[in-house]
């Protein structure tokens, strides 16, 4: 009876809520308008603020999307961790690097081929918490433009995509801020004047406490604690700070600083075997004790951090000419350490006192220790001088030069030690021990000079073009290379609401991320071009159509074809040969191609917004150069080959009362599984063996498991339905947001990684699904 009453009350509240929606909306809009007006008022005198770019029908640009902060905050995400990169993953042409990961794979390119910039500074380690979230703190970002082809000439040094993010400037007149407490991390954002009207600051701080909430939750939810070992301990923190000073209406100086650190340790995998028994081999032989035990454990420690900053001066010479002078520094440190330890103790001891049975008085004890350590360090120092010249309303000319100095240190260290004791269990023993260490890699540097010019030109009402050229000069000790990179994006508008677009871009890249092709764990080393290894070069052709169905509702379709040259892969024997060989001796150069079609239907205005995106794509590689042959020189699928990617995001705002509103977001995402090389075959190998009986070379048989072809295995497709509900309340001095989210509502077992395990004494391929039904809650207070 009581429940019935409660139910009635809930229904009543819901009806009242719906009835009051409209008046709340009006109230809230009023406040929003007021706030915006204040912002504009205080800034209009001095700030040249960037607004969200519109890459739709009216723009010359193809293969680009502008992402608003609102889109990022409303999208349902894993553990409630709002994230820019996860919003980008829902866009056409983009795939997630893995289940629950924030890394992006764009148009069949590699993970390292995406340029992530914050205020013009390149970020190398783009992920926190093994990829649960990206290093970009969404609280502090201003605008985000994402290019996946036809890159304007001002962008360079990566061949697959550009994510150009700006950090919001602090408020020049009032203090604002927000505090968010979530399941995975908490965030604090403060912004305000240091010198009213002149100098402002914007500060964002995040820190995670994975071990406090999420790890116990995962351990509870997942009934296989083994699967959680790689995630035993991990945490991060980061700090973003920006100070902006306006000298005058024409001059602005800004300083940006970021530091973020990650630490991830997997729990040791421990395996034990032991026996202790009395044995009598035959009636003729005596009793003896058989005592055996073997214990092994291994663990991984992975740490990485980014430190970067910039100092930028913006000067307006006139209404038509603006200068941007920028000096940047970006530092990245990465360490991946695996440690294994094994003790094997095999003893036999005679049973009884007869010393003649000495044959059973034996002991063998072997202790082994192994450490494999990978370091990847980068230091980039860069300076850029850019001009923006708008002589008339038809031309927007940008030109500039830049210089970057890169110092890289990709190193590996392998160390092992062994102690072996042999002899009599009850008597004399001999012990021998030895250790060995292998170091590879060294510090290397290269310089990069770039120059560009581009013009965003409106030739006629029906014809717009962004054309430009970028010149790149790479210089390593003793060798220089150049790359002339034409860029063009053209838009023909035959009807008011339809634009046909074409794009071409040649790009080059001098840095590579060498990644192990492993679906269970991966380690990565950033390596530079060398005397022998040329930069990656890519040509990408795009063609598309944009159709503005109505105001705020747009449909776009694109096709692309991309070629890649000088892509890198580890050589076929690299994971079992050449411990003392440098990375340069272990990698192969090859080529690749990728093609696909993309569809995007996007609604950006109104109470209901969202988008639907679909991508069909293929990505292939060929390694057939002399001495660098993979897969017998035949074309094979890249590890980033994903056939289908479908995303759907829908958001609606319900106005409950004058002070309350509810944002409901629903998203569904489907993605073809990751590709990788896995041990999937069982075979009987016959090894050449010398037979002493007849002095001939026969074949001895061993059974073993072998991986199939490169990237042959495709993990099962992943799909999940996610829901997010944000309850917003206005207070006299602030605003509260209470967000409830559910990731993977129908608890699909999405496989994040795979490994070879043993079940019923047979090898089997096991997949780990980390994120079943995952509820989340977070609270934000804004003031």
């Amino acid at each position: 009876m009581r429940r019935k009453e409660i139910l009635k009350k809930v229904v009543l509240i819901a009806i009242i809520a719906i009835m009051t929606m409209q008046c709340v909306s009006a109230q809230q809009k009023k406040r929003e308008v007021k706030d915006t007006a204040e912002q504009v008022l205080q800034l209009e005198d001095v700030v040249v603020n960037r607004t969200k770019n519109n890459f739709g029908v009216k723009s010359s640009q193809i293969s680009a999307i502008s992402i608003s902060k609102d889109q990022i905050f409303r999208q349902p995400v894993l553990l409630g961790e709002v994230d820019l990169m996860k919003t980008i993953q829902r866009m056409p042409g983009v795939h997630a690097s893995g289940e629950g990961q924030s890394g992006i794979i764009v148009r069949g390119g590699d993970y390292d081929q995406n340029l992530l910039r914050l205020d013009g500074v390149t970020i190398y380690g783009t992920e926190h918490l093994k990829g649960y979230t990206s290093v970009i703190n969404p609280d502090v970002i201003g605008t985000t433009d994402f290019y996946r082809g036809a890159f304007p000439a001002r962008f360079g040094s990566r061949v697959s995509s550009v994510v150009d993010v700006t950090m919001e400037e602090g408020n020049l007149k009032k203090y604002h801020g927000s505090l968010t407490v979530g399941l995975l991390a908490s965030k604090l954002n403060l912004s305000g004047p240091i010198w009213k009207g002149r100098t402002s600051f914007n500060l964002g701080v995040r820190a995670s406490y994975y071990g406090v909430v999420i790890k116990p939750l995962f351990t509870k939810v997942n009934n296989q604690p083994e699967a959680m070992r790689p995630f035993a301990s991990m945490d991060y923190y980061d700090v973003n700070a920006k100070i902006t000073h306006y000298f005058s209406k024409k001059d602005k100086l800004s300083f940006l600083a970021y530091f973020g650190n990650d630490n991830n340790t997997s729990a040791p995998t421990i395996s034990k075997v032991s026996r202790n028994k009395l044995v009598k081999p035959s009636v003729y032989l005596t009793w003896y004790f058989d005592m055996y035990n073997r214990e092994s454990s291994s663990k991984i420690t992975n740490t990485w951090n980014n430190l970067f900053g910039n100092l930028a001066w913006e000067h307006k010479f006139s209404k038509t000419l603006m200068l941007n002078l920028r000096g940047t520094y970006s530092r990245y440190r990465y360490k991946y350490l695996t440690e294994t330890q094994e003790t094997e103790n095999a003893n036999t001891a005679p049973y009884g006192q007869d010393g003649s049975y000495i044959v059973y008085d034996k002991t063998t004890k072997t202790e082994t220790y192994t450490q494999s350590e990978y370091h990847s360090n980068i230091d980039e120092l860069a300076a850029n001088v850019n001009f923006d010249f708008t002589p008339n309303k038809w031309n927007d000319i940008k030109f500039g030069v830049g210089f970057s100095k890169y110092d890289l240190e990709p190193t590996t260290r392998m160390w092992y030690a062994m102690t072996m004791t042999q002899g009599r269990f009850t008597g004399e023993k001999t012990t021998k021990s030895y250790e060995n260490e292998f170091f590879t890699g060294e510090k290397s540097s290269f310089n990069q000079i770039s120059a560009f010019v581009e013009d965003d030109l409106s030739i006629a009402k029906w014809l717009k073009v962004n054309a430009g050229v970028r010149l790149m000069l790479y210089s390593v000790s003793g060798k220089s290379r150049n790359s002339i990179e034409p860029r063009v994006s053209l838009s023909i508008i035959p009807m008011k609401k339809i634009a046909l677009k074409f794009g071409y871009a040649r790009t080059s890249q001098a840095l590579h991320l060498l990644t192990s092709n492993n679906l269970s764990t991966s380690r990565s080393l950033w390596v530079p071009i060398t005397k022998s290894f040329d930069p990656i070069k890519s040509d990408i052709y795009s063609v598309g159509v944009n159709y503005e169905i109505s105001n705020g509702l747009e449909l776009s379709a694109e096709g692309y074809y991309k070629t890649l040259n000088n892509v890198l892969e580890y050589g076929e024997t690299s994971n079992y040969e050449g411990a003392n060989k440098d990375w340069t001796e272990k990698i192969y150069l090859g080529k690749g191609r990728a093609f696909g079609v993309e569809l995007l239907l996007q609604k950006t205005l109104g109470k209901t917004t969202g988008w639907f995106s679909y991508t069909w794509s293929k990505s292939l590689r060929t390694f057939d150069r002399d001495g660098m042959v993979l897969n017998h020189g035949e074309e094979f699928y890249s590890s980033n080959d994903h056939r289908n990617n479908l995303g759907f995001v829908l958001t609606h705002t319900f106005d409950i009362s004058a002070r309350e509103a509810l944002d409901l977001s629903v998203s569904w995402h489907y993605q073809t599984g990751r590709r990788g090389t896995l041990t999937i075959m069982h075979s009987e190998q016959k090894i050449p063996d010398y037979e002493t009986a007849d002095n001939s070379n026969l074949m001895s048989v061993i059974e073993l498991q072998t991986a199939g072809r490169l990237n042959q295995y495709v993990l099962p497709a992943t799909h999940h339905l996610d829901v997010n509900l944000i309850y917003k309340v206005l207070h006299p001095k602030g605003e509260s947001h209470l967000a409830f989210g559910i990731y993977n509502l129908y608890s699909n077992k999405n496989i994040a990684s795979a490994f070879i395990g043993i079940q019923n004494n047979e090898y089997v391929l096991k997949g780990i699904s980390l994120f079943p039904f995952m509820p989340s809650i977070s609270y934000t207070y804004k003031f």
Partner: protein, 316 residues
């Protein structure tokens, strides 16, 4: 009211099912490609007949036997000339060339086809013989008589491995070429003075850097960890190298240690390395998966070749 209770119960049950679900899942493996994969293991050893073995492969975890291929057509070409004389074993899974004996420099091409399998091809060249090695010194340690009580008499324990022979030897490498080697050291003894049945211990050890291999992280079948008897000439390119190996002796009669210094084809070297590392890392979930090296196009396995120098040490 009852209806509401039912709904609550169903919801609670659903939540429990969802949250307590396993995070591990056995993954399916597409067997169609595996089913048509043929494996060949074929070896061309200088001075011996060419031998080839055929089989299919199965997916890991399959309870089926590894498929046998007994209806294949094998074509062997040596220096462009077809070898027609091929002998098959009784179950038609292995063949050899009774009239052709492999010799240094021979280029051997093999093509094997069988119904329901992809046709495979592979090529190898028989390497030249390695430079002869020298045995500089030997020493026997742990000479404790391993006797067992057999009835009323004490007899030699034929399974014991108590005595160890250390052998100091000098290996040589040919200059101006990349060479790949395998060292085989086998302790052999006859079971009795009259019975010629041999007891063999093929495991040997060494602390020399030549054999150091950090990828072999654990002991497999009695071999010491971080040790591989397959190596290249990087540490003694064009020079000589003095090493000490130790072999646990088999007890019995006519005790001897046979040493074979094999010069391998490059493909065979990579293949043997991959096999050794795979055996040592098969159960390590953090280890990179090993693709067993293969020079067989459209199949798996190896067509390898080697030449050798051999010496026998009689143990007193």
């Amino acid at each position: 009211m009852k209806k509401m209770n039912k709904i609550y119960a169903i919801l609670l049950l659903l939540l429990a099912v969802v949250t307590m679900s396993s995070c591990e899942k056995i993954l399916n493996i597409d067997e169609s490609e595996i089913a048509e994969t043929m494996q060949i293991n074929a070896y061309a050893v200088s001075g011996e007949n060419f031998k080839l073995s055929l089989s299919g492969v199965k997916r890991i975890g399959s309870s089926m036997f590894i498929p046998t291929i007994d209806n294949a057509v094998v074509e062997i070409e040596v220096n462009g000339v077809e070898v027609k004389d091929i002998n098959w074993n009784t179950d038609k899974t292995e063949c050899s060339t009774p009239t052709y004996v492999c010799k240094e420099g021979d280029k051997i091409h093999v093509k094997v086809s069988a119904p329901n399998y992809k046709t495979v091809r592979a090529t190898t060249i028989v390497p030249a013989s390695p430079l002869d090695f020298e045995v500089l010194d030997t020493a026997k340690v742990y000479c404790v008589a391993p006797l067992v009580n057999q009835g009323s008499a004490l007899v030699i324990d034929e399974y014991a491995l108590d005595s160890v022979l250390t052998i100091k030897m000098k290996l040589y490498d040919k200059p101006n070429e990349k060479n790949y080697y395998r060292l085989v050291v086998k302790s052999v003894a006859n079971k009795s003075q009259t019975i010629m049945t041999q007891m063999i211990n093929e495991v040997f050890g060494s602390e020399d850097d030549l054999f150091a291999d950090p990828y072999i992280v654990k002991s497999v079948n009695g071999w010491q960890p971080f040790f591989s008897n397959v190596f290249d000439d990087e540490l003694f390119d064009g020079k000589d190298c003095t090493i000490i190996v130790s072999s646990q002796l088999r007890n019995g009669y006519n005790k001897r240690v046979v040493i074979e210094y094999q010069l391998l084809s490059e493909d065979l070297y990579h293949y043997l390395k991959s096999v050794q590392v795979q055996k040592a890392t098969a159960t390590d979930i953090y280890a990179d998966p090993i693709i067993i090296y293969s020079n067989v196009i459209d199949g798996v396995g190896i067509l390898g070749a080697y030449n050798f120098a051999r010496q026998t040490i009689i143990v007193k």
